[in-house]
Amino acid sequence: MLTVRRWWGRRGLQVGLIVLTLSIAWGLRQSEGGVIYELYRWLTLPFQSEQDVRSIALENASLRELQGRLLELESQNQRLRQLLDYSSEQTEGIVAPVIGRSADHWWQQIILGRGRNDGVAVGDVVSGTGGLVGRVTHVTPNTSRVLLITDPTSQVGVTISRTRMMGVLRGQAGNRAVMQFFEKEPNVRPGDTIATSPISQLFPAGIPIGQVESVDFRKSPAPEAVIELSSPIGYLEWVIVSKNTTPQSEPIESETAE
């Protein structure tokens, strides 16, 4: 008893401090680092440019022409959908600045400067100029964390726009991803565009993703295509966060879209 008390007298403070530090760290881990990212956002506020980059990008004339054509097609599409009773709500997105990137090399994430207070929720779809970027996985009052589609654990159900061939897109870190087909001999060729498929559980159908760069038909167990992503994921500055209307977007843990 005496030895225990003497030991505690000598080491008590140290043990207390160690336990305190460990529990603070554990608490941070359980709260998914909300405090850190709020602080980070506050510190990087002076460096965020306030001008809306989208309006600058829209100056481009050919882009404006394409937008006009897109609008035309969208309205046509809308009318056809009404005829078919096909329901899909289009929601206005939130423009969010990218304030940071993954704090670890094994995960492909970005940190956005908009959070719960601005209406961002877990499961929201994030897209940049060019197409799909990822999905919101964590939200704090003023920041949110996005798992990019280039992350190796991110799997997205995709389809070839030309032939409607289905497959699963897996990230490869960098600006590349691999699409694995369900069929043995898919009708696909380099240059085909791909988009999210209607059976994806995490993303609404029809969001553009990228282009087929090359196809390996001999890959086992299923043919694979290398996809060049259309949004510049390596140097994103602004993204658009939109509400996810897919019904099964709730379970975040099961990332596979069969």
Binding site: A25, R29, E32, G33, R101, H105, G174
Partner: protein
């Protein structure tokens, strides 16, 4: 006013709290640098591993226990900032223990060149530990969406090399001021005790 700028005149409680304050502040600075990608700090999309640099700098002059605890604490915090599974605490604790156990007197001196060398080695070791954790994860839960084995070890090569080069180049930025501070605190403590 003069008493404030002379560490030898500080009271032990002031000294201790300042020491803790500076240590916690340095961890916070490292934490907040992790998500930034300042030009020149990036190689193939990989930046320096600031948590690892801090754990190495902390453990160089401490016991294996202290190294392990620092590794676990910082690992938990890094889990909070990225994804908790697999935990970063394992790799950082391994780094803390190994750094503390290194026979530095025999092989290398305590200047910042050798700290850079230690950081290089430890970066490779810690990324290997993470890759092993991923491998274990993908072997034990084949249903979950882990990367395939081939992908894990391909990423490991890229990440380990880039992170090791960058971390060792940036290590003196953390090492030099912190080591100066801790040495000063130790000298003051010795002087006050005697």
């Amino acid at each position: 006013m003069a008493t404030f700028f002379d560490p030898f005149l500080w009271s032990p409680s002031l000294r201790r709290s300042l020491n803790w304050g500076i240590t916690v502040f340095s961890v916070l600075a490292c934490l907040l640098t992790m998500p930034t990608r300042i030009p020149g700090m990036e190689l193939l999309g990989v930046g320096p591993n600031w948590m690892l640099i801090w754990v190495v700098v902390w453990s160089v002059n401490r016991t294996a226990w202290e190294g392990a605890i620092a590794g676990i604490v910082l690992g938990f915090i890094q889990d909070a900032m990225t994804a908790p599974n697999p935990s970063h605490a394992v790799s950082l604790a391994v780094v803390g223990i190994l750094t503390a156990r290194l026979r530095k007197q025999r092989y290398i001196q305590e200047d910042f060149i050798s700290v850079a060398l230690i950081v290089f080695g430890m970066a490779v070791i810690s990324e290997t530990v993470v890759a092993l954790q991923f491998t274990l994860g993908s072997l034990t839960n084949p249903t979950e969406s882990y990367p395939t084995l081939g992908e894990i070890w391909l990423f490991h090569q890229q990440i380990a090399l880039c992170s090791a080069i960058l971390s060792s180049l940036w290590a003196p930025v953390v090492y030099y001021p912190l080591q100066r501070w801790w040495n000063l605190m130790e000298t003051v403590e010795q002087a006050q005790l005697s």
